[in-house]
Amino acid sequence: MNLLDIRNLSIELLSANNPILAVDRVSLTIKEGEVRGLVGESGSGKSLLAQAIIGVLDERWRVDADRFHWRGIDLMRLSIEERKAVISKDVAMIFQEPMACLDPTTTIGEQLEEAVDNEQLSGYFWQKRQQRKLAAAKLLHKVGIKNHELCTKSYPHQLTEALCQRVMIAMALAKRPLLLIADEPTAAMESTNQGQIFRLLASLNQLKNMSILLISHDLENVTHWTNTITVMYSGQFVEAGTTKHIFDQPFHPYTRALVDSSPKANSQIPVKSRLMTLPGSIPILQHLPIGCRLGPRCPRAQKACVQAPKVKNYHGHQVSCHYSLKDSY
């Protein structure tokens, strides 16, 4: 069954003159026990999408969707309180900069204990304090921190970035979520630490059957860990499919360019040759091109591209392009 089923979600930034369409009709489904990658360059609206799922966008943003279902419940019809109750029970999120997201003035232990839910504790009120401590220590063990006593006593600035990220994951696990949204969990981390965090997430996925939405700006970093990938560009849906399809036979020119531009994925190209790349850079929100937003940078763009293309589905491999590369394979 689909955990999360989003069809044509749009997010608008309400401004004085005219609203800006930051995310334009993006679809996303997450099945139970699946790791889905959400890939896009910075400014492509992937963090916005994650925040819209959690429901933490303030009133300056307007979220619209044709379908926004969480395990069969239509979230768009619920009131804010009901929605909060549903989402906070089953969905957790870890944010980009762990150091900045933890409270610098309280110890890790206190912050973790705060995250532990009251309902998980059994016993009389004088036992609860102890149980809470135990639960926090258990959470730390779960994410691979063995020396929990030292860790609970320290402040965020005393820990390394990778440790902070582990603490963030521990906090997210406190509610035993069904879906974990990881917003660039390894941005600006060393490769060894990156490996550790990804392995931790993968083991959680396998052991607890927890679904993960893995958000990243770099296609090459996530391909090993994901089952399926959704690619976004400048707030528009580009392509979705299994990791293998996306990586080996991308249908969209943008995904093709992403794969080609990575020197890791193309180890056969000669050293110091020019890398394939798209001209220009991602457009800013104030000056979005009409139709397909890749248009001005796209090597295959033609007249029809001023109209936004419809999503085509080839056996679960969805692509949004008038001139897809499907026939060239």
Binding site: G195, H224, F247, S281
Partner: protein
């Protein structure tokens, strides 16, 4: 062709702050020697605390080395003689957004090194700034813009312009490509390679992305806790790593390669 930059026995150790007998020496970088030729790139790979940033700081003269000498074209570079060093060794930092002064226009930013290091008059400087901006793929009219008006990739280009405006011989890239988006990163790699061919620059690339290192560099050096673990041609080191630490580094990124 003789070596452009020769480094011999360079090392750095710090004294911890403490009372007399409590004082300890911490070695950030053990004695290290290498040389680079023009048109070549040396990659330095290692984890945090391996001393790669210390090495970069020593080379640009931000820190005083404990022992050792740096020679450029056979001339010894002395600590404190910035006039000589600034002209020839330039550095680009990781975070392009915060290294540009937000209260200065691009013209003022690029004018500063010229004003301090050359005898050009104002008109000549303006012409040179315009040329340099065009060289890195921006327009001459971008001169009157402020840094916040540019996107991340363009800011990185401006830092590159600031680095090459004095026609240096060595450029140090301290994780300069890490924070960029993939398509901008490949644009930047292409631009750097073009500049290397045109101007005969030598690059010192500090990075932990082995894909970029493999594509970009001729030689590589692996640092671990201040010590050189492995040196050699990039192709050879990456295909036949000998030290345990290098193998671990490659294994950590290998999973991404295996997928294909």
């Amino acid at each position: 062709m003789s070596a452009l930059l020769q480094v011999s026995n360079l090392s750095k150790s710090y004294e911890t702050a403490g009372f007399w007998f409590n004082r300890k020496m911490i070695t950030a970088l053990d004695p290290i020697s290498f040389e680079i030729k023009a048109h070549k790139t040396l990659a330095i790979v290692g984890e945090t605390g391996s001393g790669k940033s210390t090495l970069a700081k020593l080379l640009v003269g931000a820190e005083n080395p404990t022992t050792g000498k740096i020679k450029l074209n056979g001339q010894t570079l002395h600590h404190g003689n910035f006039k000589q060093r600034c002209q020839h060794i330039r550095m680009i930092f990781q975070d392009s957004g915060t290294t540009l002064n937000p209260s200065l226009t691009i013209h003022q930013l690029l004018d500063e090194p010229l004003h301090l290091n050359t005898d050009l008059n104002e008109a000549q400087r303006s012409v040179l700034i315009r040329e340099t901006l065009q060289k890195v793929g921006l327009l001459g009219d971008h001169m009157s813009f402020y840094p916040h008006m540019f996107s991340g990739g363009q800011k990185q280009r401006i830092s590159l312009a600031r680095a090459i405006i004095l026609k240096p011989q060595v450029i140090i890239l301290d994780e300069a490509l890490a924070a960029l988006d993939p398509s901008l990163r490949s644009q930047m790699v292409n631009l750097l390679l073009d500049l290397q061919q045109q101007m005969g620059l030598a690059f010192i690339l500090i990075s932990h992305n082995l894909g970029i290192v493999r594509h970009f560099s001729d030689d590589m050096m692996v640092l671990c806790q201040g010590q050189v673990v492995e040196v050699g041609k990039t192709v050879e080191v990456l295909s036949k790593p000998e030290h345990k630490y290098t193998k671990k580094l490659i294994m950590n990124q290998r999973f991404q390669l295996l997928h294909k």
